[in-house]
Symmetry: C2
Subunit: 318 residues, 2 copies
């Protein structure tokens, strides 16, 4: 197979990091940029990483998806709050036998994207990455980086592993990015929510780091109850997550350094929060199966309020 | 009947206001003071009120309950967070045929006090009062003032109206304080929680006025859901509150000026929050009847976290 051509839709902390790693490994990568376009065209991308810093003085940068070549693999790395743009973008950049790889957080995004490109041209990737964009075309990779890849099929029916997954996994691993293959993307999505829902939500609502949330018996108790609600949500989708997984996530978080979640960073920067992808979609999916998740719904409403006020305030003060 | 002798346990925004009004009307009132003791002994009490300002240059003030005379009516006007003091205090100040009138917020306090003074010596009063203490012995009465009086009996069994209720109501009304008599104290307590639980809780958690909470569709929706949970809690105590009451409370709040709740004021002043009385006790009471109230439980845990951190921070910074 010839070298795959990659498109990166959204060259930020996540898309910029993975795309730069792939280009550095010799792959053919094309970056869609927005506010950083001029800067990146002139200066390229800079990655400071715990695995070694590097610079790409020249990259294929675009400020309009219409100028991009058709690609084999489209990495969707926008914030989900921008996903309304995808129905226009994706058809202009995906090859007939190409695939969209959703690297976003939350639930149900692959399903939305399948409406645009078809059920057989979507995959999901769960990213365990800690990185920030610290300036135009300048990414700071702090820790982790693994991706769990899973195929999408209609209604998230599990379809096992495929050749194209293995090819993409090879590309990423050649770039030093660890990849695991999942046989059940929806299970993986729900598992990731077991962590994301309590910590992202409460870190914003209570203005707290993970360490603070774990140190107080009441917030810790609420974290745990929320995790069990996510498990109930997964069950409503026919996905079984064992109670042991809750204890694993609590232990894992106990052993982390004080961590500011990605949603908290977005909040502090007055950026839109991914409330619908991470909270709204799981609530809707469970409700479709007749299951209510009251604690998650409480956080959902609180976050919607805080998100609206946070941006309103930002607009006034800038 | 001779003039009743009143004790005010806790001469703050509420106890100071009602006690001063009673003394001004000619009743024999004895005030327990704490930090304001020296000031009030020398300068008395000052009440600025929308119904007319007045000063009481001399009041019967005490800094120790042991020095107080036995009284007919003991107004309990401490914050509930101080109620652990009452088992020592009340026996030293209540006449054999006296009664403790609980003017505090929340649920189940009368039951706790009945453990100290007996089931037949407790009453509850629901205060609809907007006042602040603005300085030592200096109270600012902003609005409202009505009290709904109800007799307590074992297990909150409703016992209708009694002579002593009517006597106390007469005293208060002679002092210009409107009083209504309730035949079912527990019903009244749950009704008051329909307002107090959503607005006190969310005002602290979301740092918002009542007006802000009503203006956003998500917080408004959460307020409404919380009100229905309080109704479910009331039902678990055998008290029926109609759904219409929710709409009345929403309309009532829509028509209020932007209001900072009492719990928000406590929070902003780094004072302990009455989380147990207003949230913890209703949760426990419902749970005893086998009913869970998940949204209220979510707020409970969040408030316990915020309360602990709020006071910790206060202790460090002062």
């Amino acid at each position: 197979m010839s070298i795959s051509r990659y498109a990166v839709i959204g060259t930020g902390a996540l898309g910029g990091f993975y795309g730069a790693k792939l280009q550095k490994a010799g792959l053919d990568v094309h970056f869609l940029l927005n506010s950083d376009y001029e800067h990146v065209i002139q200066h390229g991308l800079v990655v400071e990483s715990k695995d070694g810093d590097f610079t790409l003085p020249q990259v294929n940068g675009y400020n309009d998806v219409a100028s991009m070549p058709y690609c084999d693999v489209i990495l969707v790395a926008l914030k989900t709050t921008q996903n309304h743009l995808l129905s226009q973008m994706l058809p202009q950049v995906i090859k007939n036998d190409g695939v969209v790889l959703v690297l976003q957080n939350g639930l149900g995004i692959e399903e939305e994207i399948a409406q645009i490109v078809g059920n057989d041209r979507v995959m999901g990737g769960l990213c365990f990455l800690c990185s920030n964009k610290v300036g135009a075309g300048h990414i700071h990779h702090l820790d982790y980086g693994e991706i769990i890849l899973g195929e999408y099929a209609a209604n998230y029916h599990p379809v096992g592993t495929t050749d194209r997954m293995r090819q993409i996994a090879n590309d990423f691993e050649s770039a030093g990015i660890p990849v695991k293959l999942s046989e059940d993307l929806l299970l993986g999505r729900w598992q990731k929510l077991v962590w994301n829902i309590p910590y992202n939500g409460l870190s914003v609502i209570l203005n707290a780091t993970t360490t603070e949330l774990m140190a107080n018996i009441h917030s810790r108790n609420l974290v745990e109850k929320l995790m069990y609600e996510v498990i109930a949500g997964a069950k409503s989708s026919g996905r079984i997550i064992s109670d042991r997984f809750v204890q694993q996530m609590l232990d894992y978080t106990d052993n982390m350094k004080p961590y500011r979640t990605s949603m908290k960073i977005d909040y502090d920067e007055h950026r839109p929060l991914e409330v619908e992808a991470i909270f709204g979609n799981p609530l809707k999916k469970a409700l479709t199966a007749g299951v209510t998740l009251p604690l998650i719904s409480c956080l959902y409403h609180q976050l919607k309020f805080l998100d609206a006020r946070n941006r309103e305030f930002h607009n006034i003060s800038h």
